[in-house]
Symmetry: C2
Subunit: 164 residues, 2 copies
């Protein structure tokens, strides 16, 4: 690893090693917060920005990539695995993966037709997972337009707004 980084013009430091290791020990879809937590359990002196910078670095050297599910939190995914899509549960925030090979094929063809050079594919399905469907009894399944009943995303600890 030290070598790998050196060839790219980066130095190895204790903090960096710790952060890299922690990142790869955490599973998939790691958030900075999670990584930060894990790292400072080992060494509380490691700074906020150092974790950030190194997470970025991991991406820069091609070992991970950002995954944003429009909820404001960026997650980071190792790139070692096959390309994959994500099921995002809007209720419990869980993330499940699925195979996207056939989809990537389609997109590749589509891109070629436009002389567009694809570098990265992103395929997401937002909805409600099996467990949450049971709990909440929500039924927005079919291809119908989502019910726009006001006051959704309940049960989740959102901002405690009650004013107005």
């Amino acid at each position: 690893m030290r070598e790998f980084l050196r060839t790219k013009g980066y130095k190895m430091t204790p903090q960096r090693e710790m952060i890299f290791r922690a990142f790869f020990e955490l599973g998939e879809h790691v958030t900075v917060e999670e990584l930060y937590e894990k790292v400072r359990k080992i060494d509380p002196s490691v700074g906020h920005s150092t974790v950030w910078r190194n997470l970025k670095l991991i991406c820069e050297v091609g070992l991970a990539e950002e995954v944003k599910m429009g909820d404001g939190v960026t997650r980071y995914d190792r790139v070692t695995r096959q390309p994959h899509g994500h099921f995002f549960c809007t209720e419990c925030k869980s993330v499940v993966e699925f195979n996207v090979e056939p989809i990537v094929d389609i997109m590749t063809t589509e891109a070629a037709g436009r002389n567009f050079a694809p570098e990265h594919f992103k395929v997401e399905v937002h909805g409600v997972c099996a467990e949450c469907r049971e709990k909440v009894g929500r039924q927005t399944a079919r291809g119908t337009s989502p019910g726009i009943e006001d006051d959704d995303h309940a049960t989740v600890e959102e901002r405690g707004n009650t004013s107005r």
Copy 2:
């Protein structure tokens, strides 16, 4: 429209009407900034937060939805149109759409198998568009051997480059 909103418990106001109208006059992938600009050309007294709030409202009543392309800027898309994917050029920030029906079919099947209730699909291809490839001569493509097919309707929308 006034009626439509009233039934949902919202009032119509001059600002609101102006903002709604402006939003629908602007094309696709509208940013708050663009909308704000357009609105305050008509009435400079309209506040920042009012535009924001109403854009959110447009989404809430189901007339538009957020489209985040991982570059920090949220765009808003009318929901009247067919579901579509986005080609996102990392160089010039242009956005081009493509049909995703076959892809949605696959995702729907995939979701059904997991008893996942899909509400929204997001399909993106990030890469370099035809024009930028010529300019920069970049070739970072993967699996794509870009046969120079007919480049048809490429509705390329230039975007002001916002640094970050």
